[in-house]
Amino acid sequence: MTPVNTAVNHPSRRLIVHLPHPYDEARELYEILVPEVDMARFGQMANWQATLELAEINAPHGFMRYYRSDVTAAMAGSASFWKATQYLMGNHTIAERMFHHDPAVMLHAPLRTVIYADPDGDTKLAVDQPSLLFHSYESPDVAKVGCRLDYLISLLIINMGGDLPSELRHTS
């Protein structure tokens, strides 16, 4: 291993998707489509095959929730009163296909997502496009999984009633 620091410049694309439902309904729908990860049960799995099976049950649409923070509540009392919730969303059995090649990929897995109401009251979903993040690791195997994550993001947007951004249309 070379004892030098490295810096990687890479392109990133933030997707901001308009959602048709009011903020609270959109958040509820998102949390149905992206269930909370059952880490206690994952800890009981005796082998990786069992872990894969549990992920299939826990993530019917591909993603699980690893973290949720109600930003509105955290900012209560301040002059900032937006409705916003932030999440870490992913699937560690999918991430393993990248982690197998490079442990650094876990910098970008799980994915950060935010649901918020903008100044007009419209609901938005914000997420960085996974394929661009994971292409930066310069591994075809990692990049392939990044494209798979683009596809799963597309499914999520469709299931939430949003229109696919043109940058994701090739995945559907």
Binding site: P35, V37, A46, N47, A50, E56, N58
Partner: protein, 184 residues
């Protein structure tokens, strides 16, 4: 859906609702009622054909099967599993329907898709079973689970994923209409 066909080496099994037969050389079909199919003299192929026939007929016709005469369904308390809450339907089958056992429980997610079913495989040592269905795909407008995994179920109703499962994957589903006049 009335007929299901399975390929075996040099044979095929044809399941017609609660009847099953093994076709040898493409010209012989024996239809057997469920009680007879359990007779050892009928051979392994017929046993396998019977099991696959009635099981898949049940899987592919659920939930429409619930409207059959004599079938009783009641909603019971919801079930929480893997970060989700599923509504449950307890179903009692009449003896006229060939199935795993008379009383089964079906689990549905908030979108109405079936995610799990519990039953006892009476033809296989009365094992407690938890059967998960996923990866739904639309075939001619009909949403079908293309991935099924069947595990041992514990007495407390949890499912042991650590043991190997029975796997059932569907690659294609074709709708056939027994009555052509029923076509849309």
């Amino acid at each position: 859906m009335q007929n299901l066909t399975y390929s075996f080496p040099a044979q095929a099994a044809v399941a017609r609702a609660a009847h099953v037969g093994v076709v040898a050389s493409g010209d012989l079909e024996i239809l057997v009622q469920p009680p007879d199919a359990g007779h050892p003299a009928l051979g392994r192929a017929l046993h396998l054909g019977y099991f696959l026939g009635y099981a898949n007929w049940n899987y592919f016709t659920t939930p429409f099967l619930f409207s059959y005469p004599g079938l009783v369904a009641n909603e019971i308390e919801p079930w929480h599993e893997a970060g989700q809450t599923w509504r449950r339907l307890q179903v009692r089958f009449p003896s006229s329907i060939a199935t795993h056992n008379p009383e089964q429980v079906f689990y549905f997610d908030s979108t109405g898709l079936q995610r799990r079913m519990d039953y006892v495989t009476e033809v296989l040592g009365s094992t407690l079973v938890g059967h998960y269905s996923s990866q739904y795909r639309s075939f001619d407008g009909l949403s079908v689970a293309t991935r099924r995994r069947i595990f041992r179920r514990n007495p407390d109703n949890t499912v042991n994923l650590n043991q190997p499962s029975i796997t059932l994957d569907s690659r294609n589903v074709e709708q056939c209409y027994a009555n052509e006049q029923a076509l849309p």
